[in-house]
């Protein structure tokens, strides 16, 4: 249980980051991890609570106290076993998850003191890859059944891996040219290098998962004919639009159009069409996707970057009346991207866009009250130069046409089921769905019954 009382003596240390001025010069990852000795000290702060709120705060139910303790005790090999027990892709989550576990850590009752769970997680999986502990785990025997998974995002991949390891034949259909979904194309290289993603995909391939890229599934008939069950893990990719005058101007893009374009350009050298280089960039939407746009624009050498948010500025510290511990606190967070430069503002409603020659040049906004129904404050109209406007205002849901075809033997999972959410939720969904699929396919074997008995983390064999 860590070192008794260590939390009183050892302070929380954040993950080391490369200097913002330096890192904007390249696309390599900029977040590192502490040296292992320091990291073990951080892990020692974990008290292995009788009621581990972190473990509840984690959508995956990661066995955080258990592997914190193992890291503290320098038992990395067992730590990765425990980590993999609930999480197929810790190298994704260790980089990309906003860490609701840390918000729920008991030490976070005194804000800012949570155990550095995310760093510990990342270090465990990094070490595991380095040591060669991450190897394919093909099923001992095949069931002779077959499952089609549509979508190679984290939910689809997790589901496919669980099923393959259980001996099901799995075919993953993906309309893009590589696996990973948003992790591959929507998240910039400097947050997760694509070789990391591909390395994991190769594990799945070695475990027998067959990938069919460039297949845009529109109807299920064929798939149902080929497979005993079908899983739809197509994400929630319909973006929220900005219905204002000028929306139709060139240079106004959804954030994902921009990020996908850039990712393809970087990884596959594709000729992209949307570049921020030398432009005045305005990102509408104050969330993580918006931040990624900001960060990318810096690296492309934008003339200026501005990020605006409809909502008012949140409080600087956890508002205990609204989102008390252990809830995820709605509070002011300064993204990595803004540390690299750029401006941000809150409570701004975009009133219209204007441009020249069909290209956007100006954005016009007005202050609002900061909360629904966002009444405009008279006399606060302003204009701002904008050559590239990126809409990062969230998603409305899945592309409904396919999802609506779900029926007997067809399962919907991940963002496609629950709406846009965190990668940890996606992996959890994929895992649960794999268990559901197996239960559906075979109710009678002992193993599948064991899978479904609550109280047991029997990773789906």
């Amino acid at each position: 249980m860590g070192r008794i009382g260590a939390f009183k003596k050892v302070d929380r240390v954040e993950a080391p980051e490369r200097d913002p001025r330096e890192r904007v010069g390249d696309f390599r990852e900029f977040v590192g991890t502490l040296p292992l000795t320091d990291l073990r000290e951080q892990a020692a702060r974990c008290m292995e609570c009788g009621v581990p709120f972190c473990h509840n705060g984690c959508p995956l139910g990661n066995l955080i106290p258990d592997w914190n303790d193992l890291v503290y005790r320098d038992r990395w090999r067992e730590a990765i076993d425990q980590l993999h027990r609930t999480n197929n892709f810790p190298e994704f989550t260790g980089r990309l998850c906003p860490a609701p576990c840390e918000a729920a850590c008991v030490l976070e009752i005194n804000e800012g003191n949570a155990v550095s769970i995310k760093q510990v997680e990342l270090s465990i999986i990094n070490r595991a890859w380095e040591e060669g502990w991450v190897v394919p785990q093909p099923a001992a025997a095949q069931t002779g059944r077959s499952v089609g998974v549509v979508g190679a995002g984290p939910a689809g991949l997790a589901c496919a891996q669980q099923l393959a390891r259980a001996g099901e034949r799995v075919v993953v259909y993906e309309r893009d040219e590589a696996a990973g979904g948003l992790v591959r194309f929507g998240v910039p290289e400097f947050k997760i290098e694509k070789r990391i993603v591909e390395r994991r995909v190769q594990q799945l391939v070695a475990e027998g998962v067959e990938f069919r890229f460039g297949v845009d599934v529109q109807s299920l008939g064929e798939l149902q004919a080929e497979h005993d069950a079908v899983v739809l893990a197509t994400g929630a990719r319909v973006p929220r639009d900005l219905p204002v005058p000028g929306r139709e101007l060139a240079g106004v893009h959804f954030a994902m159009e921009y990020l996908y374009d850039r990712a393809r350009a970087l990884e596959f050298g594709a000729e992209g069409g949307i570049s921020a280089a030398g432009k005045h960039v305005v990102v509408i939407g104050g969330g993580d996707t918006g931040a990624d746009c900001v960060g990318h624009a810096h690296r492309e050498g934008a003339a200026s970057v501005t990020q605006i948010e409809l909502l008012g500025e949140p409080p600087a510290r956890r508002p205990d009346d609204l989102t008390p511990w252990p809830r995820w606190p709605i509070k002011l967070r300064t993204s990595y991207a803004l540390k690299e430069g750029g401006e941000r503002d809150f409570a701004l409603s975009t009133t219209h866009l204007s441009g020249e020659d069909g290209r956007v040049t100006q954005i016009h906004w007005q202050r609002n009250t900061g909360a629904p129904p966002f009444d405009l404050v008279p006399g606060t109209e302003e204009s701002h130069p904008a050559d590239l406007v990126l809409l990062a205002m969230g998603f409305l849901g899945p592309e409904q046409a396919l999802v609506d075809q779900a029926g007997d033997g067809v399962f919907v999972t991940g963002d496609a089921r629950r709406g846009q959410s965190l990668i940890v939720w996606a992996i959890d969904e994929g895992r649960r769905t794999a268990a559901e699929v197996r239960a559906y396919l075979d109710e009678s074997t002992f193993v599948s019954v064991a899978d479904r008995v609550p109280g047991e983390y029997t990773p789906a064999p």
């Binding site: 249980m1 008794i4 009382g5 939390f7 009183k8 008290m47 292995e48 609570c49 009788g50 009621v51 581990p52 709120f53 473990h55 509840n56 705060g57 139910g61 066995l63 106290p65 258990d66 038992r75 076993d81 425990q82 027990r85 729920a104 008991v106 030490l107 009752i109 005194n110 785990q137 099923a139 001992a140 390891r165 205990d320 009346d321 008390p324 511990w325 252990p326 809830r327 002992f446 193993v447 019954v449 064991a450 008995v453 609550p454 109280g455 047991e456 983390y457 029997t458 990773p459 064999p461």
Partner: protein, 1468 residues
């Protein structure tokens, strides 16, 4: 009264006062009878009366058969004395039935070749008995039987045979002998003589008389349960009874006696069903004696003293005990047994000496022995000597020899009858001496076996690692909020369905660490032989020192092959292919195999699941063991072999304890050992594998001793097969067949479910998957998707948010989640629902502000909680009119008068902080008999938690660890509790007195006894509550849910019509309004909450309270962490109001306007038929919901107050005499707690006094209790137990009268447990004291001239000077204070915590000053001689190491010098 609902008469307990009077010269006179009856009347306060105050619980007298009187009273001719016997019959009043029984008896007499001489109607004065007793009074007739047998003993045997046969026909025969006769009945002590005119008759003469006054825990009419029985009267309890009864039954088939010949078959079964523990003991004793052993011999077999490691026990005697251990296990428990066969009379104590007994011999040839001194007035000038009964010792008066036979001589005579020691040495074999063999290897991969036996990750981390690393069982805190095994979804192992029983009130638990001298875990395996004979071959047993076997030891047993020992291994796995249906035939097969093996001469049966593998699944090892055990008991062959279990399943203290409790003599947990090896190999344990195994086995051994001592059992051989468990959640069929005799009250799963569980686990292991991780279950700490915990992240967060702004809607979410979870999968109350009723408007329901007054917070001490948390709870409860509880740690006097005071002041076994000031400032005094987290165990506060503030409140030394004993050393029995309640009433007559019990089977009868003890309030705690730190086996496996305990209590109290006199409270994981309403309906007036209000203040269930690292400042003394505490009284208040509003809404929906009208309304509840899973598992709540069968209008809640027992207290005279000169009073043993009320009087009024009273005579128990500063009591005479209890600054002195004929320093002047919990003041005793002198003394100074066993036990402060001999185990658990002992025998000292040193200058000054005062106050000649010839070298200073270290610290560095705060005040 028959079994009804949850009430079961087999759990009745009794305890009592006992006495005998004898003439050494054997002269028969009526005066003996008179004196005995007078002694009995003076013991009346030890007896009790029920709802009908006139009806006593029972009283009786045994005398020699009064030949002259009988001869004159019957119209027919009697043969010479000795040639006729008298049967005293209790007959039904219905004439037809009576005649039938009489005829049956006469026929039996004739059939056995004897003559019926005639009948005599025993005259009785019916009106002298109480009203209730009269209703059930039997017709009493004596039958006279003549014989032609020359040998009176042969005649006695014949009478015994006749009686046993007649008893089987239904005749009740309290005595039937040619030597003795018993008069007894459901009477109080004073009624006995009046009820039987015979006893008044001057012609009724005897040279000895044994009397008894009974205190029963209930009031159901029973005339025959009064004592004495045929041979004994008993004060105490047999804890191992169920095992003893089973073993006797198992021995019956082998019994043979030349003296009885074929008659022996007629007396079987030896033990008459339905008797009390005393009756059963008497049954066995009688058989042993009539078949040829002497009374002392039989008693030494049945109640052996602790002999191991004692140089004072002779070789012959040691040989006797070792030999007889091969014949029978001990009948273990606190017991004072007075016995007689008509020519010898005597008494003995159990090995622990947990009952009192005092005796004196007069110059004119009388001997008086009684539970108390002073029962008869004997002028000091006529007293030749005085003594006390001592642990394990015989006090024997031989009328034929005309003298008291000393213990040593009496035992030596028995021990020398045969060369027992030689026999034993020659015949027994020690396991350790068998030639070494190679252990067997695992036949299957470790991980597969672990999965097949249901190992989890927590088994490794929480159970096995600490066991092997620290040689200790793991400690947890904050109770158990997981479901009962039967409600769990995770198919718990069979062990989890068994709840350990524990001692509370009617018998004391033992401290297995500090009192290790009485403990033994030796185990014997082999064939037992005829109990009624003795031959060298009886000692052919294999002796095992530690019953948890290593693999090589098991292999030795398996391979043993000699003419004496032969083992046979029975495989208790069954083929997987047979599925769940295979279990039942497999059980039959193993039982049949056991039969065959025994027939073939095997005497060691090894039950093994080593064959577990892909095709074979193991049955639960406990099932296999218990099935074979009971099968063989039934077959009468059980004693031909010992059972040894070789299983992969056991891996905890609980699992091994249950196996032994159901008959295993030894257990080889091979998979646990292999797992430990793997932990070592994996680097998780930095130990050699052998060392790690040894530590783990040692830790389980230690845990076993703790488990058995919880029940007051001290030897593992007595625990073996004793079944001191309650089954919760097993079907009646299963229990009846394989766990015969185990209480099981809510039904549950059967064989099929067990088989499915085994197959489920097996299915995990085979076929193997490439995943080789063990499951995570989250039993000890919550895990998502794991075992359900009522307190989980969601419920905790919602409760905290509800009181921090979320308000009622958030509380409702919380309640909904709690109730829904509860209903689905957690608690018994979750299975209930309210019946549909016509609702009333919410406004008509009594306001929440009234309901919250029924709430209190749990007993959590300052010390376990931070000051901030403790005070927050108190402030909250005071503001809403509820009650908070000090817990066991005293209270800062600054809080007595402000809003931080706790209305409930707890009095626990450690008595920390309990002095007169604390007591007078209470609204309620709560005697903690047990706590939910660890019933039957004491506690420890490590030194680092005892900061100066905590120490000042507990009257102890900062930095020095504190130990709370498992028992209250002034409560070994129900009448002791009555005495403590009396003492507390003296200290505070206006406070209500509460007794806290933990739910277990039989708690209802204990509660009835508590009500009869004059308590006002009874708290029934659930097993699951409890916030304290405790070994995990106690948290999970002791006690039962409050729903069962409360319902049993309510039913029993109502059946006894005692409910009207007491409030009943319950606690244990109560959270919502629904919980409260159900508790009320099951019988609670009030409810306690501990965890929920703590969570309201910020507790997050870290469950690390014992580590002092609570990150939210709730359960820590760390000043830094305490700053983090953010709780406010408002949080707690808001929570309770939410609960109360919730209650109101339910009340409105039920149409009940007043809360009191809910109490006991079990008719408003019904099982929730919408919930299926538990019904499918056979759970049956009928008994829980049973409304007691009583006349309409019998109160279901408290309607009247208890009568005050203080009206005739002597202290009123002392109070009147304050300041007006009268200084001298005569006292006797009925004057109890002298000085208590007086101290209350002066403390409450803040009087500064300087008063000195001189008292003459024998003072009753608790002389000088709580004596306040400025009060001095000098007693000329002697005193009973508990003198100086809680001494609070006053001074007491006890001296013999000047004209005493005996030497003071050689005679006992004061009883047991003197100065218990004394906090300051001085005490001087010119003479010897009993056991446990100055136990838990934390500040008083005392001089005494000799002490019994366990002197200065658990002492934390003060000075004790002993001028004479000390008993064994001196200074056990002593962590503070200093003792100075003259001519100390170092072998008598328990040196675990203390060192022995010479006196230094400062010591000399202390000793000299106290000795001078001793001479001045008592006239001690011993002290005077020492002063005259001052040789400090004769003294040894006994000082605890820690205490010395702290004392040696200079004041400037935080040392505290020599005195605690209070003793300083007292000196000033």
């Amino acid at each position: 009264m028959k079994k009804q609902g949850l009430y079961d008469p087999s759990f009745e307990h009794d305890a009592c006062g006992v006495a005998f009077v004898a003439r050494l010269d054997g002269h028969r006179s009526h005066e003996t009878v008179d004196r005995a009856l007078r002694a009995l009347e003076n013991l009346e306060h030890r007896g009790a009366a029920g709802a009908d105050a006139d009806t006593g619980d029972g009283a009786g007298i045994l005398v020699q058969l009064p030949d002259a009187f009988l001869r004159a009273s019957v119209p027919f001719e009697l043969p010479p004395a000795g040639r006729y016997g008298v049967g005293f019959c209790f007959l039904p009043s219905e004439p037809g039935r009576r005649e039938e029984l009489e005829r049956a008896l006469e026929d039996t007499v004739r059939a056995e070749g004897q003559t019926v001489l005639g009948w005599r109607d025993v005259p009785v004065r019916r009106n002298e008995a109480g009203a209730q007793a009269r209703v059930f009074a039997p017709v009493m007739r004596q039958v006279f039987v003549g014989t032609d047998l020359e040998d009176q003993l042969a005649f006695e045997r014949k009478l015994y045979v006749i009686r046993r046969l007649a008893e089987r026909a239904g005749v009740v025969l309290p005595s039937f002998s040619s030597r003795t006769i018993v008069y007894k009945g459901m009477l109080s002590a004073p009624q006995l003589g009046r009820y039987f005119p015979d006893l008044d008759d001057e012609r009724l003469e005897s040279a000895l008389a044994l009397v008894h006054s009974r205190f029963s825990t209930n009031t159901f009419p029973s005339w025959e349960l009064a004592h004495p029985y045929r041979f004994i009267a008993h004060n105490g309890e047999i804890n191992t009874l169920r095992g003893n009864v089973n073993w006797i039954r198992a021995r019956e088939s082998q019994l043979a006696s030349g003296l009885f010949g074929d008659d022996l078959r007629k007396v079987l079964p030896v033990i008459q069903a339905g008797g009390s523990d005393t009756a059963m003991f008497d049954n066995v004793l009688e058989l042993l004696v009539l078949s040829g052993r002497t009374l002392p011999h039989a008693l030494m077999m049945m109640v052996p003293e602790a002999y191991s490691g004692r140089p004072d026990v002779t070789d012959e005697l040691r040989g006797f005990y070792r030999f007889h251990e091969c014949l029978t296990e001990a009948w273990d428990g606190p017991a004072a047994i007075a016995f007689t066969d008509g020519s010898v009379i005597g008494a003995m104590l159990d090995r622990n000496g947990l009952r009192p007994g005092r005796w004196l011999e007069t110059t004119d040839g009388w001997v008086v022995c009684a539970s108390e001194t002073g029962v008869l007035d004997v002028p000091a000038s006529q007293v030749l000597r005085k003594g006390r009964l001592q642990p394990g010792k015989l006090f024997l008066v031989d009328l034929d020899q005309g003298r008291i036979v000393p213990d040593g001589e009496a035992k030596q005579a028995v021990a020398a009858q045969q060369p027992y020691g030689e026999w034993f040495e020659r015949e027994h074999v020690r396991l350790a001496d068998l030639p070494p063999v190679e252990p067997r290897e695992l036949q299957q991969p470790l991980r597969s076996l672990q999965l097949a036996f249901g190992y989890t990750q927590e088994d490794m981390k929480v159970m096995l690692l600490p066991l092997a690393a620290n040689a200790e069982e793991a400690v947890g805190s904050m109770g158990n909020d997981t479901p009962l095994a039967v409600l769990s979804e995770r198919r718990p192992l069979l062990y989890s369905y068994f709840k350990q029983l524990f001692a509370q009130v009617t018998n004391p638990p033992i401290d297995p660490i500090r009192e290790a001298v009485v403990m033994s875990k030796q185990s014997l395996v082999g064939s037992e032989r005829n109990l009624l004979a003795e031959t060298p071959e009886h000692a052919r047993q294999l002796v095992i020192d530690n019953p948890i076997l290593r693999d090589d030891e098991l292999e030795k047993l398996r391979r043993v092959d000699s003419d004496v020992f032969r083992s046979h291994t029975i495989d208790f796995t069954w083929p997987v292919a047979e599925g769940a249906d295979g279990l039942a035939p497999a059980l039959e097969r193993i039982c049949a195999e056991a039969d065959r093996a025994l027939a073939d001469g095997a005497n060691i049966l090894i039950l093994s699941d080593r064959a577990t593998g892909p095709d074979r699944v193991p049955m639960p090892s406990l099932l296999a063991t218990a099935a074979i055990h009971h099968h063989l008991v039934r077959a009468g062959t059980r004693l031909q072999a010992g059972l040894v279990v070789e299983s992969g399943e056991p891996r905890s203290v609980q699992s091994v304890a249950v196996l032994i409790g159901y008959g295993a003599a030894a257990v080889n947990p091979y998979l646990m050992l292999a797992t430990i090896d793997a932990l070592v190999a994996g680097g998780l344990l930095e130990l050699e594998a052998a060392e790690a195994q040894q530590r783990a086995l040692g830790a389980i051994g230690k845990g076993l001793l703790k488990t058995i001592s919880k029940m007051g059992i001290s030897t593992l051989s007595s625990y073996c097969g004793a079944q001191v468990f309650e089954a919760v959640g097993l079907s009646a069929d299963l229990v009846e067949q394989h766990f015969t005799g185990t209480p099981s009250r809510i039904g549950g799963i059967g064989l099929r479910d067990l088989a499915e569980g085994a197959l489920f686990r097996h299915g995990r292991a085979y076929p193997a998957t490439h995943d080789d991780l063990l499951p995570v279950v989250g039993l000890y700490a919550w895990r998502r998707g794991g075992e359900h915990h009522q307190w989980n992240p969601e419920t905790i967060a919602l409760l905290q948010h509800a009181v921090r702004g979320g308000g009622r809607p958030t509380y409702e979410q919380f309640a909904e989640l709690v109730n829904a979870d509860s209903a689905r999968r957690s608690t018994l109350r979750g299975l209930l629902r309210f019946r549909e009723r016509t609702p009333i408007p919410l406004e008509d329901v009594e306001p929440a502000s009234e309901i919250v007054k029924r709430f209190s917070t749990g007993a959590m001490s300052l010390g376990s909680l931070s000051r901030e948390a403790h005070e927050t709870l108190a402030q909250a409860m005071n503001r809403i009119g509820g009650r908070s509880n000090t817990g066991e740690g005293g209270e800062d006097p600054e809080r007595f008068a402000d809003d931080r005071r706790s209305k409930i002041k707890q009095v626990a076994s450690g008595r920390f902080g309990v002095n007169i000031g604390y007591l007078v400032n209470a609204d309620e005094l709560q005697i903690k008999m047990a706590q939910g987290a660890k019933p039957g165990e004491g506690g420890q506060l490590p030194g680092h938690k005892v900061d100066p503030y905590i120490a000042s409140i507990r009257f102890t030394t900062p930095g020095v660890g504190l130990i709370s004993p498992p028992p209250h050393h002034d409560i070994y029995s129900i009448e002791d509790l009555k005495q403590l309640i009396y003492d507390l009433r003296c200290a505070n007559p206006t406070a209500r007195v509460s007794v806290k019990l933990v739910a277990e089977v039989g708690v209802g009868t204990i509660a009835a006894g508590v009500a009869k003890c004059n308590a006002d309030h009874i708290l029934i705690s659930g097993h699951d509550g409890g916030t304290g730190a405790s070994p995990v086996s106690s948290i999970l496996h002791a006690g039962v849910p409050w729903e069962i305990g409360l319902a049993e209590t309510q039913q029993t109290l109502v059946l006894n019509d005692l409910r009207s006199r007491v409030w009943v409270q319950t606690d244990g994981q109560l959270k919502t309004g629904r919980d409260v309403v159900i508790a009320a309906m099951l019988g609670a007036d009030e409810m306690g909450f501990a965890t929920a209000p703590l969570i309201a203040t910020g507790c997050v269930m870290m469950r690390a309270c014992h580590l002092n690292t609570c990150p939210v400042g709730v359960a820590t003394q760390d000043p830094e962490l305490r700053k983090r505490f953010q709780g406010k009284p408002e949080h707690v208040i808001e929570y309770f109001f939410h609960v109360a509003e919730d209650v109101r809404e339910i009340m409105a929906s039920l149409g009940v306007a007043r809360f009191e009208d809910l109490v006991g309304r079990v008719d408003l509840l019904e099982p929730d038929s919408a919930l299926r899973h538990w019904q499918e598992r056979g759970v049956d709540l009928t008994h829980l919901l049973r409304a007691p069968d009583v006349p309409a209008g019998t109160p279901l809640r408290r309607t009247e107050a208890q009568a005050s027992p203080l009206a005739d207290a002597l202290d009123w005279q002392l109070i009147d005499a304050l300041g007006n000169g009268k200084r001298r009073f005569d006292v006797r043993n009925v004057n109890r707690a002298i000085g208590g009320l007086l101290s209350q009087h002066v403390t409450k009024r803040g009087l500064k006094v300087d008063e000195h009273f001189e008292l003459h005579g024998s003072a009753g128990q608790s002389f000088g209790a709580w004596l306040a500063p400025g009060l001095q009591l000098t007693l000329v005479g002697d005193a009973n137990d508990y003198a100086g209890k809680g001494l609070s600054g006053g001074t007491i002195a006890v001296r013999p009268p000047d004209d005493a004929a005996y030497r003071a320093e050689e005679n006992v002047i004061v009883g047991n447990t003197v100065l218990y919990g004394a906090t300051s003041g001085r005490a001087f005793f010119r003479g010897l004291a009993g056991e446990r002198f100055a136990v838990r003394n934390s500040g008083a100074s005392a001089v005494v001239e000799g002490v019994g066993d366990h002197g200065c036990e658990y002492m934390t402060g003060g000075r004790v000077i002993v001028l004479g001999p000390t008993g064994r185990n001196f200074a056990a658990g002593m962590s503070g204070g200093i003792a100075y002992v003259v001519d100390l025998d170092p072998a008598r000292v328990n040196t675990a915590l203390v060192g022995l040193e010479p006196l230094e200058q400062a010591d000399e000054e202390t000793v000299l000053a106290l000795l001078r005062e001793h001479v001045e106050r008592t006239g001690s000649t011993v002290a005077a001689r020492l002063l005259e010839d001052w040789t400090p070298d004769r003294f040894t200073k006994v000082i605890p190491h820690d205490y010395k270290a702290v004392l040696d610290l200079p004041l400037s560095t935080g040392g505290i010098g020599l005195v605690t705060r209070e003793s300083e005040e007292a000196v000033a």
